[in-house]
């Protein structure tokens, strides 16, 4: 049974139902003019399957048995008022989700009264369940084109220097676990993927992967749930929901690595690990340290000391890490590291204004409200709640954040242990002597 609401107020999705290895959540808001249907197929990753999973997201959205090539499928989507069917691989700790998303104009805006919804459903369920495959293998040239796209993606990871540095740091911090693999996997493994292997993996996913489905529409559309359940329900499925928690193991001493490249700006990534910090405490801590507009990192590193152009922070709840990354001159690497450590000391010493904690809550409340204003973020927020196994509403979490004390922040900050220091150094920069201490 799915949860349905006539007016979507917040991602209050309840426990949902996990019948037949799938959970369907329907959310409605009349303010939207489009519909969105997202499938999350959760998978465990290995070095060998990492590129297969990435390849499948492209393969299954580029063609199908009915639309044999990218142009034919694209033309069909264009004819449905620019309906979109796309996919990505989303990493969740050591695991991942193959996320397939369809979005389309609501039927009431069709110029000639066409029923767009039914046609889009036929199209996307066809892509997922009757893919472009024969004799147990994906067909060429679609497979060959998608595989080349994947290899190009892997080769071009270095184009975006910031993303590249973050990926390199993750590979070091999470060494020995699947989270170390990039979203595309390695080139070596990608080169060996065959059409038959990719098809086998997809059939296995259909049988064994837990499938989270979230549908966002302007008004209730029970026919979508019926069509989805009718199609996926015919498969012999045996799947259980995952526990995504996969804490990063402590290192005896921080891993430190530098790499040089012919660049104008160097990138420094600092990864810290922690044992256990409640979600609301981590949210306030991250806000004060690097999340709010005038965070400790922004104010001190960029505005006061002019050390870097950006200094950003992100956390991984499943891997129990906080990652800080900066873009700066190579010769500033040591100074930036010391300055980041200084901001952490301020947190540990409770040396920050209460106003920053209040602003962290306000920023969260704004984010939670903004999420509700678009179908894609609405669906993503609902799926994330299930993944975290934390079904508190945004209002409840904001209230919990308001109760967080400076002492809790200080204690949590003391848990942040340097894990990895990665420097992507501009080739012409001076030698940097970073100290992870």
């Amino acid at each position: 049974m799915s949860r349905k609401m006539t007016e979507y107020a917040a991602p209050d999705c309840g426990e949902g139902s996990t019948e037949n290895g799938l959970r369907y959540t329907a959310l409605c808001s009349p303010k939207f003019r489009s519909c969105l249907l997202t499938f999350y197929f959760y998978v465990h990753r290995t070095k060998e399957t990492a590129p297969v999973h990435a390849l499948l997201t492209d393969l299954l959205t580029a063609s199908s048995a009915a639309y044999k090539d990218h142009a034919a499928l694209s033309l069909r989507l264009e004819s449905l008022y620019a309906a979109d069917f796309s996919a990505k691989l989303s990493l969740c700790g050591d695991d991942a989700a193959l996320v397939f998303t369809a979005s389309w104009l609501d039927d009431r805006y069709a110029l000639n009264g066409e029923a767009i919804t039914g046609q889009v459903l036929d199209l996307i369920l066809g892509c997922l369940l009757q893919p472009n495959a024969e004799n147990g293998a994906f067909c060429d040239p679609a497979f060959r084109i998608c595989k080349q796209n994947l290899l190009d993606d892997i080769d071009c990871l270095c184009n975006d220097k910031r993303e590249y540095a973050l990926q390199q740091a993750a590979a070091i911090a999470y060494q020995g676990t699947p989270a170390a693999f990039s979203v595309h996997g390695s080139r070596e493994d990608a080169e060996t993927v065959t059409p038959a292997q990719a098809y086998r993996v997809w059939q296995e996913i259909l049988r064994t992967s837990f499938c989270e489905i979230v549908c966002v529409t302007p008004e209730p559309k029970p026919e979508i749930e019926a069509a989805v359940r009718g199609a996926l329900g015919q498969l012999p499925r045996n799947a259980a929901f995952f526990d995504f928690d996969a804490p990063t193991a402590p290192k005896q001493r921080p891993a430190v690595q530098t790499e040089t490249m012919p660049l104008e700006q160097s990138k420094l990534v600092l990864v810290y690990r922690y044992d256990s910090i409640p979600r609301e405490v981590l949210a306030v801590l991250c806000g004060v340290l690097g999340g709010i507009p005038e965070s400790l990192l922004f104010l001190n590193l960029r505005e006061k000391q002019g050390l870097c152009y950006y200094c950003a922070l992100q956390s991984s709840q499943f891997k129990h890490t906080v990652t800080i990354d900066c873009g700066m001159d190579a010769e500033q690497a040591e100074t930036v590291q010391a300055a980041v450590a200084e901001q952490l000391r301020k947190l540990q010493d409770r040396d920050f204004p209460d106003e920053m904690m209040r602003q962290a809550v306000l920023q969260y409340e704004y984010h939670a409200a903004a999420v509700q204003d678009a179908p894609d973020s609405t669906a993503a927020a609902a799926a994330a709640m299930y993944r975290r196994r934390d079904l508190r509403t945004p209002e409840a979490l904001a209230e919990a954040m308001r109760q967080v004390t400076r002492e809790q922040i200080a204690e949590a900050a003391k848990q942040l242990t340097p894990d990895t220091v990665y420097l992507l150094r501009a080739e012409d920069g001076e030698e940097a002597d970073a100290d992870a201490g």
Binding site: K31, F32, R33, S34, D58, D69, A71, S74, L75, E78, L80, Y81, A82, A83, S103, W104, L105, Y109, L111, I145, D152, I154, D155, C156, C158, N159, D160, K161, V256, Q257, T258, E259, T260, M261, P262, E264, Q265, P293, E294, R302, G306, C308, Y309, Y310, G327, D329, E355, R358, Q359, L362, Q363, E365, Y366, A370, D373, E427, A432, D433, D435, A436
Partner: protein
Amino acid sequence: MPAEITRLTDPCTGDVCIRMQHDSGLEIRVMEMPAFSTSYAQFGTRFGSVHRKFRRAGDAAYTEMPAGIAHYLEHKLFENPDSSISAAFSRLGARDNAYTDFDRTVYYFQTQQHFYEALELLTGFVQEPYFTQESVERERSIIAQELRECLDDPADQVFFQMLGGLYPEHPVHTDVLGTEESIRQITPEILYTCHALFYHPQNMVLCCAGNVEAEKILQLCDRMIKKRTPVTAAPFRYPERAPAGRLIRRKTMPVGKTQFAAGFRSRPESGTVRLKESLLSSLTAELLIGSSSPLCQRLLAEGLINDTFSTDCFAGDGWFTVLAEGESDCPEAVLDALCAEIGRVKKEGADRALFDTLKRAAYGDTVISMNHPEAACAAMLDSFIWDGISPFARAELLAQLTADDVQGCLETRFCTDNICLSVIEPESLGKEESEL
């Protein structure tokens, strides 16, 4: 004198844009969208990176400003003698920021609560410049860092290299941020001069969308917007250049695969004509080599392009370019194939069914794209910058286009004797790994 108020209605969706001409000269555009949780405000001026050369009333000669001046001014307006602007927004639960583009500078915020307090802050600080030698000096290193980040971005570099080939005489070819050399010339005096010239209400627009009320916004503007005598500055008009043939520009960077951007330069337009020509050019490019076209499928199958390939139309006050960009081991072959397809369609005519499908898709995109306060705000601002046209003009103009228009578009917008192919080739990454 009370503000002059008109209501513009989208015939497709029923959306209403309330357009108010404030007695200060400021144009105010509002879309009330009460069902949404968040609200957006954008305060923009027609002052972008290309507005560097102008002649003030009474001056005999043109004045030329250093490249990057509009962007530098954007950064420095956030300086306040008493308190931090961003901290003030943050205290209200609002997120503020700004951006500078070729033809505009825009300051904005988004919030769930305290909208009118945040709007007061926005309209206040943008009108109150405060620059000191020390603060202008301090900003130089931050902007230099931002510039270096762009220099490492192959997408930026392949685009500006293309513009350098197409528009060597026009400032559009220079990065919006300027250069490290040009920003060294910027002083508080220059910043004050540009603020006085370009940040007067007659040159600006305030756009608000979301859970907002037009009446309250107007009342706030009555209080906050300063009436000023405009200082007029006539922009320098760069002469049109004769077609330069087919140029190729190359450089190397640390990239994984060759990047390219091919641009077709043509006559610039303004106002509604520019929007209509942009829509037609975008549709024509999609028809020739978009994802639904047979040519795109052939190039994918031959391995000449990959899924990064896309087309676009880049137009503004003084430039009009249709471009095709992506990754390829052989960009020249991709451009050759596109030029051959242009020749074929000129000769054989456009695929009418495909054109109609693409037009229908563009209609769907248009209806969906306005279904968010941020997008609605941006559409209102865009249409003001593009000579005051309606934010709903796109759907109306789309409806007028037919497959017969494609032939004219190919003749005027896809001129194969006025092309620049920009190529970024991989250079050895020279990796070395060591302990720090």
